[in-house]
């Protein structure tokens, strides 16, 4: 096999950029308050929407005396970004903006986000700190399989890995066979992509006779979609790597809002740039530490497009207590689900993550699956297609029928409704090169 020996693999050297990770809490809070005041002032002065909303509530930037006062500020939602499309929330004139990104816009218009030179620098620094937290360092060879382009994943990870001093392979998403060839031939030590795409890479590598466990790859930095602890276990054992969860969203900056340290117990939020709150998704009330709710983020340093109390739709909790890694940055639990992901089937709330957990329970591993919703005679029907894997396949009909039954029972147990389970041939469910498309909803008539 043609592999190159990578650079140092011992404990990562301390990165100067990581210093803010260890700020004493009191100093961090003071820094946050100072930055919050100036960002709210900036939004007030430059963005009509923020000014109008604050005026309606009778609030002025000067009213912010403590961090808790943030709860009085109005929320910003994705709808606000759509309504002000394309540039309505920008706080900088175009000549100061060096970069625009946009969401894929699966429903209606995309949302557009902007960066000044300073914003790009901040983004780079949080991505450098993210990679450093995952134990990456100069000498690592990073295969960046996030999509390059309007999506923030590709360039965000690129700048961060390059800023760290690692060697970046800007391969972008797609062309799976070439990804595997590059991973093997270039001596790749770390990979960035969506977790579902990495699972696809593992699967394809197996078909090509490449065992990723035998390659120098030792870390994966995966994000842009929620994934379960079991999916991580599967990735780590099948690829022989440590798989880190990274979190971010374009509206706030892109990847690099929060990431796991090697203890893999929650994601440290880069609080010197992003102020987190957890709120009740229904009432908007701020919830105490440890309680689960919707993550709300305020950008503390973003110039081109300050986000005030942005509703992420991601469900998580802030974790009490200190992390053994010594960082003072608070941690949030891994995002298991988004409030947007919720499906309502026959009036019952269904989260794809619950279904995934049930499949794992039956199978021990997570097969490729897809949820198909249809409406027959006015009644919602839920079908779960599951690809047959070599482990579950048998030459005996009875064994497969019992498996089908077990999956069906497990789903009914977690969902409370009966789902039609269909075993399908391998590779028949479409693979994603970005975020996995787990749900096909055919209930609504196509416009």
């Amino acid at each position: 096999m043609n592999t190159v020996t990578a650079g140092p693999t011992s404990a990562a050297p301390f990165q100067p950029e990581s210093a803010p990770d260890y700020l004493p809490a009191a100093i961090l809070r003071e820094l946050q308050l100072g930055r919050l005041r100036s960002i709210v002032e900036r939004a007030w002065s430059n963005v009509p929407l923020h000014r109008t909303r604050m005026t309606e509530r009778g609030i002025e930037p000067g009213d912010l005396q403590s961090l808790d006062d943030i709860a009085a500020l109005p929320f910003t939602t994705k709808t606000d970004l759509r309504d002000t499309y394309p540039f309505g929330l920008f706080a900088s004139p175009m000549q100061d903006i060096v970069r625009l990104h946009a969401s894929s816009g699966t429903t209606g218009k995309p949302i557009v986000v902007a960066y000044t030179r300073q914003d790009v620098d901040v983004w780079t620094s949080v991505m450098v700190r993210s990679f450093a937290m995952c134990g990456l360092h100069a000498g690592d060879i990073v295969q960046n399989a996030y999509g390059y382009g309007l999506f923030t994943g590709g360039l965000g990870a690129h700048y961060g890995a390059e800023g760290l001093g690692a060697t970046v392979i800007p391969i972008s998403g797609g062309n799976t066979d070439r990804q595997i060839m590059v991973m093997r031939d270039f001596g790749v030590t770390a990979v960035c992509c969506t977790p579902s795409y990495f699972l696809h890479l593992i699967e394809r590598a197996g078909q090509l006779g490449v065992d990723i466990r035998e390659l120098p790859v030792r870390a994966g930095v995966f994000g842009a979609e929620p994934w379960t602890a079991s999916m991580r276990k599967r990735i780590e054992s099948a690829a022989g790597i440590q798989a880190f969860d990274i979190y971010g969203l374009s509206e706030v900056i892109g990847p690099g809002v929060a990431v796991e340290c090697p203890h893999q117990d929650g994601l440290h939020i880069f609080e010197d740039h992003f102020y987190p709150e957890i709120v009740d998704p229904e009432s908007g009330r701020v919830l105490p530490e440890g309680e689960e709710g919707e993550l709300v983020l305020t950008t503390l340093s973003k110039q081109a497009m300050p986000m005030i109390r942005y509703r992420t739709r991601d469900i998580t909790a802030l974790m009490p207590g200190a992390c053994p890694c010594g960082r003072s940055l608070r941690r949030m639990r891994r995002i298991g689900r988004r409030s947007d992901d919720m499906l309502i089937v026959r009036g019952v709330n269904v989260f794809p993550s619950q279904l995934e957990a049930a499949l794992l329970e039956v199978e021990g591993t997570l097969p490729h699956y897809q949820i198909i919703l249809t409406c027959q005679h006015g009644l919602d029907q839920i079908e779960v297609q599951v690809e047959v894997t070599p482990e579950m396949f048998s030459d005996q009909i009875g064994v497969l029928e019992r498996l089908n039954q077990r999956i069906s029972d497990a789903l009914e147990h977690v969902l409370g409704i009966r789902a039609q389970v269909t075993l399908v041939e391998p590779l028949t469910i479409q693979r994603s090169e970005g975020k996995a498309r787990r749900v096909i909803d055919r209930r609504r008539v196509q416009p």
Binding site: Q207, T389, P390, F393, D395, Q396, I397, E401, P426
Partner: protein, 143 residues
């Protein structure tokens, strides 16, 4: 003694069984015996082929899920009651027949059946003890 049977998962949809058959044909692999077990929603295509290792690789590369199972080819006298005699050999034993299907060619006066036993080694011993001929894959070539 034991033959390697390939089982391939197939959805019960028009055209789904053709693809593996075509693939093997293109590669010059002969399908000696075949049985399709099906339910309303899916099926299992079971085959005895001329080169099972290559067939397995080819099918897997094409994305199929393939399972190899050891089965026995047993000569059965081609007259009424021939099959019953073979089955009778297992009454009172702990050996179970999971399924069986016929080999499409007749060897002289004998028919050949493919059996999937839960304990193939015990089944071989029992069959031989009762004087039945268990065929090797070589013997199938001579048909």
């Amino acid at each position: 003694m034991k033959l390697h049977q390939l089982s391939v998962f197939s959805e019960n949809k028009p055209g789904h069984v053709i693809a593996p058959c075509r693939l093997l044909a293109r590669e010059g692999i002969d399908i000696r015996a075949l049985s399709l077990a099906d339910t309303e929603r899916f099926g299992i295509l079971r085959m005895i082929v001329s080169d099972w290792r290559r067939a397995k690789d080819l099918l897997e590369q094409a994305g199929s899920v393939v399972k190899i199972t050891e089965v026995l080819a047993v000569e059965v006298p081609d007259h009424p009651g021939g099959l019953a005699d073979v089955l009778e050999a297992f009454i009172g034993t702990a050996i179970n027949i999971e399924y069986m299907y016929a080999f499409p060619f007749v060897r002289g006066e004998k028919a050949v059946l493919i059996f999937r036993f839960d304990q193939p080694d015990a089944a071989i011993a029992r069959l031989q003890e009762r004087g039945f001929q268990v065929l090797s894959s070589g013997a199938l070539e001579e048909r």
